[in-house]
């Protein structure tokens, strides 16, 4: 029976991956918070890299699909064939070249320092033991870490956060690419003339995919020679972003954060996915948690289901003993490595499996909360295990289980925010997208914070009503 299930699973995997390989789409992985190379505009990801990607797709006769993931995830996206190419202003480094193949470079990038106008630092050579903010894993990060051992490098997940650090005087400088830097600086800042280092951007493909590499190289070569890339860059740099408008009022900021460009749509999309994932995960969690808790209870009471009991214990131990972010990434990048699958579904599955372990313990605690005497009275009357469990233990235990399950659901709603790691647009990612366009974190973060709070307050209220009813029912 077990073998049959394994075979069936294998067949499904082969079918699914088979379907995946026949696709007529070219998937490009990027992180859309890096204007002008990739950023959100009118709900779409656009930018220099995207336009080049479109040219490549056109040349290959394929349709371009853009996938927005965390910068650190782009290489694994390409390695695991979840995406065909990666383009996010990625500089050539030997370390990266060990993991993936680089195309010829399409852009020269200068890593520069941004400082406040009144800063004493006038050149990179003056850096000694200051604090400098960078984007985690960016070229500037690697370069500073390697060449300036006395610096304190503040590694932020986003350029915007790095800029915020400078604005708040938490750091003396920000190190990053010159072109996006021009987009990001405000009037109180200046870009130093001397570059830290000059780099070259390339796109990445899976190691050994020579066919794709050659085709992409050919397109890039043509675009460079006929001046298309320069035009594309100018087009995107010429964009007037909101930050150039001086002295925004609160109302302006709110307007640009929520209404302008239909940005509320990101929040709605994020809210939808957050709720979808939390609901789906809680269902899977209850199923998994129920099965494991009951099989452990059966084993404890009747010594049957020994293997299930051991498996359940192992499952709970592993899930509770590792970070949920890690579990999410393992499920996405390792287990679903070769399968193209809806990312929200992956989220539901990952959070569901995670939640199941906690639900399992909640249910076990509920079972254990039933007084032993109640159970003994049942046995003494001649009832057997299943009757005692279903008629006496379960109804009593539910009084403790249901409110705890409600709290688990609240935790899940908040936990979904790590879905952004694999590119799910849930609430937190939505606020990130908006902030990457407005260069202002305040409103997006406050708004989603408020939404989380509303959801959890609403759920708390539901749990409270449920508790009152349950107490009433036993009266």
């Amino acid at each position: 029976m077990k073998k049959k299930i394994i075979y069936l699973f294998l067949i499904i995997m082969i079918l699914v991956s088979g379907c995946g390989s026949k696709k007529k789409t070219l998937t490009l992985a990027t992180e859309a918070g890096f204007a002008p190379y990739e950023y959100y505009k009118n709900g779409e990801i656009v930018g220099v890299d995207i336009d080049i990607g479109k040219e490549i797709a056109k040349e290959l006769g394929m349709e371009l699909v853009i996938k927005d993931v965390a910068f650190d995830s782009i290489i694994s996206e390409v390695k695991t064939e979840k995406s065909d190419i990666g383009a996010a202003g990625i500089s050539y480094t030997q370390e990266r070249a060990k993991e993936v193949d680089f195309t010829i470079d399409y852009m020269e990038s200068r890593q520069i320092l941004i400082v406040k106008n009144n800063s004493k630092i006038k050149s990179p050579s003056q850096l000694t033991n200051e604090k400098v903010a960078v984007q985690l894993g960016s070229v500037a990060d690697e370069y500073l870490t390697e060449n300036y051992p006395y610096l304190t490098v503040v590694r932020e997940k986003k350029f915007l956060a790095a800029m915020q650090d400078l604005r708040d005087d938490k750091v003396s400088a920000v190190a990053m690419d010159e072109i996006p830097a021009k987009e990001l600086i405000t009037s109180d800042m200046v870009i130093l003339d001397d570059a830290l280092v000059v780099d070259h951007y390339g796109m990445i493909v899976k190691k050994g995919n020579q066919e794709l590499l050659n085709k992409v190289n050919k397109v890039i070569k043509r675009l460079k020679e006929d001046g298309t890339i320069d035009n594309i860059l100018l087009k995107h740099l010429g964009l007037k972003t909101e930050k150039t408008q001086k002295k925004q009022t609160i109302i302006d900021k709110f307007y640009y954060s929520v209404i302008y460009d239909g940005r509320y749509k990101y929040i709605i999309e994020g809210l939808k996915n957050t709720i979808l994932i939390a609901l789906g995960a809680v269902v899977i969690g209850i199923l998994l948690g129920g099965i494991t808790a009951v099989s452990r209870n059966i084993y404890d009471n009747t010594n049957k289901f020994k293997i299930m009991n051991e498996l359940s214990k192992l499952y709970v131990t592993i899930i509770r003993g590792t970070p949920s972010t890690l579990q999410l990434m393992i499920i996405y990048y390792v287990i679903f490595k070769a399968v193209s699958v809806n990312i929200v579904l992956v989220g539901i599955l990952a959070f569901g499996i995670n939640s199941g372990a906690y639900v399992s313990e909640i249910i076990r605690a509920g079972f254990n909360s039933v007084k032993k005497g109640q159970i003994e009275a049942g046995y003494a009357l001649g009832l057997h295990y299943s009757q005692v469990t279903s008629k006496i233990v379960l109804p009593e235990a539910l009084k403790n289980i249901l409110p705890a399950l409600g709290n688990e659901f609240i935790t899940l709603v908040k936990e979904t925010s790590i879905g952004a790691y694999i590119g799910i647009i849930e609430l937190t990612k939505a606020s990130d997208i908006i902030a990457s366009r407005t260069y202002d974190y305040f409103f997006p973060l406050m708004i989603i914070g408020l939404i989380y709070l509303c959801i959890t307050l609403f759920l708390s209220k539901c749990i409270h009503i449920m508790e009152v009813r349950l107490n009433h029912a036993s009266r």
């Binding site: 109640q374 003994e376 009275a377 046995y379 003494a380 009357l381």
Partner: protein
């Protein structure tokens, strides 16, 4: 009716029962006394296998309960009354009494209800049928617990300190009901530290100490003419109080 042969029970390394032999005849009202920790409650709980003996036999009307696949069926014949009553807290008095006969398909729902009402009438709690256990006094709870066993038409009843958790003014209503059962010929095994109650109520008494039966006899033999030194010692301590 109930025969116990060389019954032993250990909790981990601690041996609580060190080999007990006992025969209970139909209609016997047997009291078990002894210092606390002597194993008398454990022994009682071994009689319906709420505690699984480490070795030995418990034989009810020829059926050995140990490793018996039909244990659930045999348990129906053995009623048990607990110190803490152990009524099902999420069920009404009526549901407490009718749960087992309905679930085990011994009676139809209607018959079980009729029978329960009859029993409630007998124990004087007909008006409490729809109340929940937490609305009852201790004495009322214990009477309901007895009725819950009676509806199973049990042939022998085990009482584990039935009055210890009761306020003094409620002990009477429970012992009165037990007296009624005794007079109807119910076989009873009672563990209690209410020595005067055992003395006056039981026709046979067992004195346990250190995991063994030290002396066994009629109530008169045990209390008026004790032979075992441990028993003499035990009784003298009690009389001093």
């Amino acid at each position: 009716m109930l025969v116990v042969k060389d019954l032993k029970k250990s909790f981990g390394k601690k041996e609580v029962l060190k080999g007990i032999d006992l025969t209970i005849e139909k209609g016997d009202v047997l009291g078990i006394i002894g210092p606390s920790g002597c194993g008398k409650s454990t022994f009682l709980r071994c009689l319906n296998l709420l505690e699984k003996p480490t070795s030995g036999h418990v034989i009810l009307e020829g059926d050995d309960l140990i490793d018996n696949k039909e244990l659930d069926k045999i348990r129906r014949k053995i009623g048990m009354v607990f110190q803490q009553f152990n009524l099902f807290e999420n069920m009404t008095v009526l549901e407490n009494i009718t749960l087992a006969p309905i679930l085990l398909k011994i009676m139809s729902r209607e018959d079980a209800k009729k029978e329960a009402i009859k029993l409630l009438d007998k124990i004087g709690l007909k008006d409490k049928a729809d109340n929940y256990p937490e609305e009852l006094s201790g004495g009322q709870k214990q009477r309901v617990a007895i009725a819950r066993s009676l509806i199973m038409k049990c042939e022998i009843m085990l009482f584990d300190e039935p009055t210890s958790a009761l306020d003094p003014e409620m002990i009477g209503e429970v012992t009165e009901l037990m007296r009624q059962l005794r007079n109807e010929g119910m076989t009873m095994v009672i563990v209690s530290h209410e020595i005067s109650f055992i003395k006056n109520f039981c026709n046979k008494v067992v004195f346990m100490s250190d995991g063994k039966i030290q002396e066994m006899g009629t109530s008169e033999e045990i209390f008026e003419h004790p032979k075992n030194e441990l028993l003499i010692n035990f009784l003298s301590k009690i009389n001093k109080r």
